[in-house]
Amino acid sequence: MNRSAFSLTPWLLLLPAMVLLIGFTHYPAVATIWHSFFATPRGGNPPPFVGLENYAMMVDDPVFWQALTNNLWFALGTIPVSIALAILMALWVNDRLAGRGFLRLAYFTPTVLPMIAVANIWLFFYTPQYGLLEQITQAVGLPSRNWLGNPDTVLGAMIVVAIWKEAGFFMIFYLAALQQISPTLAEAAGLEGASRWQYFWRVQFALLMPTTLFVLINALINSFRLVDHIFVMTKGGPNNASSLLLYYIYEVGFSFWDSAYAAALTVVLLIVLGIVAIVKFRILDRRTHYQ
């Protein structure tokens, strides 16, 4: 149907969604790049063109480099562990374990909670002297520690929160994939004398590879997009030790009100996401078809 001549109907159907999509995704992305070459507008005058000045400032800005490195460590610390835990959780919940309904609930609950609420709960958990963590470490006889107040431990403490929040979410995708694997494969492997470990490594893990790639991409995007917990737990401190790129963009744009520099920083974030997108389309979509 409707193959004959030019038809207006599909365009009318697309119009409202496309206007909003372009208005709040494509236009701001392009405008960000454009405005990164200008100074921050002050006092109603049109801002002067400054070329690469914002980028030169960025190269010399230690806080930018710190936020970027933090973000890479944050991704590196969060992703492998949460994927490994997610696979483990999915294997357990998929097996005939006692109380697996309860376990699935326990693993998945953090996913449903708002990150802001989660951050409050963990802030309390980490509180020096009163927090549960302190009570446990003190009971064991370890010295008192201010986990969030120490630049050496703060990023690690944030990574733990992110893992706790995300592992159960990724578990769901592995669970779905595991249920697609025919039980006859396990039986065959068992008959051939394979151990449980061999079966997992050679059969299950291999078959879960597309899921792992999908989860990996999502986890990467999330590690550059999710900064809510920083607002509650550390505000990027101490000494920017827990600042992430998007949080720094927020600070520059909405605490220092330097929108031009914030635009240049956003361009870096866009480049990072662009790289992720290229990896996704080159590797992932060779296997899965958008049809």
Binding site: R96, A117, I121
Partner: protein
């Protein structure tokens, strides 16, 4: 669907160890939450002290409720997620229908434009979107929080996949009977995609109930602030840190989602699964 093996093909040697580890991890996972629940339901002097004789109380919730305009925040969040969900459903349905049932020049290109939003979401373009909202004079309204999310690439993508599986004979038959395109969409496509709407709806509501950064930026009054921002304002301005009240407020703001999750656990998990499988 869950399938359970009647017997493990690899023997039962490790089941005890595995069950134990799974439970240890499960309890560990609930620990921070359990701690918060303990603190919220006990008087302040037991906030960090564990005693079996500690009296239970709802006073912390009552105090939190009175200490900040939480009823208004609940209302704002409710309006926000409803508005976003309604707009997303309508816009995504129309767009998905266009992509799956019409052939037109440039449809691949337009679809690529849509998919780009999966990678570059409005969440990170905060500076420019703030400028836009200022220009439109919408800053500090509930509409301004929701507007950037009305067109959801994810929703369009999911529905397009579903609509493509509807056999064409169905709508051709309907056309023969004199139905127009809108009637076909409404009478045939939408009912067939019901599980996808449910899945997308649950994901959308929980996402926007929990969203924080953009609403924080674009709102600055009680009249437009959603719960997440309200909670943050409440717990950061409250000088003498009273953990009993803060944890009570925290649980209160998460409670509706948590309750919905406990009641519809299976649908939730399956929705997230369905939404994730492409």
């Amino acid at each position: 669907m869950m399938t359970s093996h009647v017997t493990s093909p690899f023997g039962n040697r490790n089941t005890v160890l595995e069950t134990t580890s799974a439970w240890v991890l499960g309890l560990l996972w609930l620990l921070p939450l359990a701690y918060a629940v303990w603190t919220a339901f006990h008087p302040a002097e037991f906030a960090t002290r564990f005693s079996l004789t500690a009296p239970l109380t709802l006073q912390n919730f009552a105090n939190a409720w009175d200490a900040a305009p939480f009823p208004r925040y609940f209302f704002n969040t409710f309006v926000l997620v409803t508005m976003i969900l309604a707009a997303q459903m309508v816009l995504a349905t129309m767009a998905a229908y266009a992509f799956s049932r019409y052939r037109f020049r440039g449809s691949d290109f337009v679809f690529m434009l849509v998919l780009m939003q999966l990678m570059v979401m409005p969440d990170i373009l905060i500076v420019e979107n703030y400028r836009t909202m200022n220009m439109l004079g919408l800053r500090d309204t509930i509409l301004s929080i929701g507007l950037p999310y009305f067109a959801s690439a994810f929703g369009i993508f999911l529905l397009r996949q579903t609509f493509k599986t509807v056999p064409r004979e169905l709508d051709e038959a309907a056309m023969v009977e004199g139905a127009n395109a809108m009637q076909v969409l409404w009478k045939i496509y939408v009912p067939l995609a019901k599980p996808i709407y449910l899945a997308f709806g649950l994901v959308s509501v929980s996402t926007h109930w929990n969203n924080f950064l953009w609403p924080l930026i674009v709102t600055n009054s009680v009249e437009s602030r959603p719960l997440t921002v309200g909670l943050q304002v409440f717990s950061s301005t409250d000088q003498g840190v009273d953990w009993s009240i803060i944890t009570a407020a925290t649980l209160m703001t998460s409670a509706p989602l948590l309750l919905a999750f406990l009641l519809f656990q299976r649908q939730f998990v399956q929705s997230f699964m369905r939404a994730g499988i492409k």
